[in-house]
């Protein structure tokens, strides 16, 4: 039994937690697992196929998971930023969750096939990883791993789009968003989407039909609601059945916020949210 499995077994056997949220082997790669008995702890796995950001299971809207009792959760370095966000937004109390940090060397672009992390197999969101050692944790498992290789292609794509004419950009987004079927998987998988009643589930103001006008509105609103909170975990883009490049929107807004307000999503639960706070001297060159 490995370090992670032994730790999970001990936490469950001691009664320190009621459930360990982690990863297990599934029919197509790994899948999220909810381990509630010590003897099941050996089902846990952690490797480069563990793409999921499990912190979304901690939000109070997931009542069926909250009902299991106090959780321990396995997080990668990047996931700790989501966790910090949930604490910051009063969705999770730090003392109510045991955090098991797993050292990570990047996850796979295609997690259904086992492969080594290399320039062409690593997920784009892992490139330029900033949190090599998770800090917001109670336990840290695994050996230190090298940083994921390569440079993110998202920033490059954003620069390309920025260089286009407005008509070309509009055409690009029309092409992308016309594929949206409004399944809202991007919302369901997002740790930040914890509203009890989402705007998209109401008759107004968003059009719920999957036509281009409604899709434009939904994706703009989704991006705006993520502004300053998105940690670019890339899960929305990964789960999108229509392969819409949602990270472009999230990342674009993150870049605007960093340029204007000097804010970058971090793993500190005490830091201030850029939208919801202000400085009297904020730029207003666009205001008449």
């Amino acid at each position: 039994m490995g370090e992670l499995q032994e730790l999970a077994r001990k936490l469950l056997a001691d009664g320190a937690v009621k459930v360990v949220i982690g990863y297990e082997e599934g029919p197509r790669g790994v899948r999220p697992a909810f381990i509630t008995t010590p003897k099941d702890a050996d089902r846990l796995v952690f490797d480069e196929r563990c793409v999921h950001n499990l912190t979304m299971y901690l939000t109070p809207t997931r009542k069926h998971i909250a009902a299991l009792g106090k959780p321990a959760i396995i997080v990668k370095g990047c996931d700790t930023r989501s966790l910090a966000g949930l604490i910051r937004q009063s969705q999770v109390k730090r003392e109510n969750v045991v955090v098991i940090g797993a050292r990570c060397g990047g996850v796979l672009k295609d997690p259904s096939v086992k492969a080594a992390i290399a320039e062409d197999t690593v997920a784009d969101r892992c490139r330029g990883c900033t949190i090599r050692e998770p800090r917001l944790v109670d336990h840290l498992v695994g050996e230190p791993k090298p940083a994921p290789p390569g440079k993110s292609l998202v920033d490059q794509k954003i620069d390309e789009l920025d260089a286009m004419t407005p008509e070309q950009r509009l055409a690009f987004w029309h092409e992308q968003l016309s594929r949206c079927i409004r399944c809202h998987a991007c919302r369901e998988v997002c740790p930040n989407c914890f509203c009890v009643r989402c705007l998209a589930d109401k008759a107004e103001p968003l059009e719920s039909s999957a036509h281009l006008r409604g899709n434009m509105a939904w994706h703009m609103v989704r991006a705006m609601h993520q502004a300053g909170r998105c940690v670019d975990c890339g899960e929305c883009e990964r789960v999108c059945p229509a392969d819409i490049p949602l990270r472009l929107l999230n990342r674009k807004i993150a870049r605007v916020i960093e340029a204007r307000f000097g804010h970058r999503p971090d793993d500190d639960p005490e830091s201030t949210a850029p939208i919801g706070s202000f400085q009297p001297e904020d730029g207003q060159e666009f205001i008449r």
Binding site: I158, L161, P166, R169, L170, H211, M224, K252, D282, I287
Partner: protein, 142 residues
């Protein structure tokens, strides 16, 4: 005769007063604009702007109190950050930012209100009706 439809979201305390002031001063400006009074510019959700375009507006004006003048102390500061981001998002999506005017108009600035409306109307008339947005409902798949 109005040629375009401009929807203006104005805050109750300053910009609505500013528009009222323009009326009181008998200032003339194009009749293309329709006002929606909200309690504060901080109340104006970016989705209002999207909705306006969906329902046939060709341009939108968002107006609130000058920084420091907000009736609720800080509503306009919050709005300023939000719209700074939303404007960039619109540009990134390919929506012409010239269709949206953000402004600070105080209750005594009837003249400025006239200027804001006149300039916006002039710009939006030059751009023409925003059919490109409200007409997006056709069957787009396959």
């Amino acid at each position: 005769m109005a040629e375009t439809k401009i929807l203006a979201f104005v805050c109750n305390w300053c910009s609505y007063g500013g528009a009222d002031n323009a009326g009181g001063m008998r200032l003339k400006y194009p009749a293309d604009v329709r006002l929606v009074r909200v309690m504060c510019s901080g109340r104006i959700d970016p989705v209002f702007i999207i909705k306006a375009f969906e329902r046939g507006a060709d341009g939108v004006i968002v107006s609130g109190c000058h920084p420091g003048d907000c009736h609720y102390t800080a509503g306009n500061y919050h709005a300023r950050r939000r719209f700074a981001v939303f404007r960039e998002l619109m540009i990134f999506m390919g929506i012409d930012p010239r269709r949206v005017t953000f402004s600070w108009v105080s209750a005594s600035e009837g003249g400025k209100w006239r200027d804001v409306v006149s300039e916006t109307v002039e710009r939006v008339r030059a751009l023409g009706p925003f059919e490109g947005y409200r007409g997006l409902t056709g069957r787009q798949h396959g």
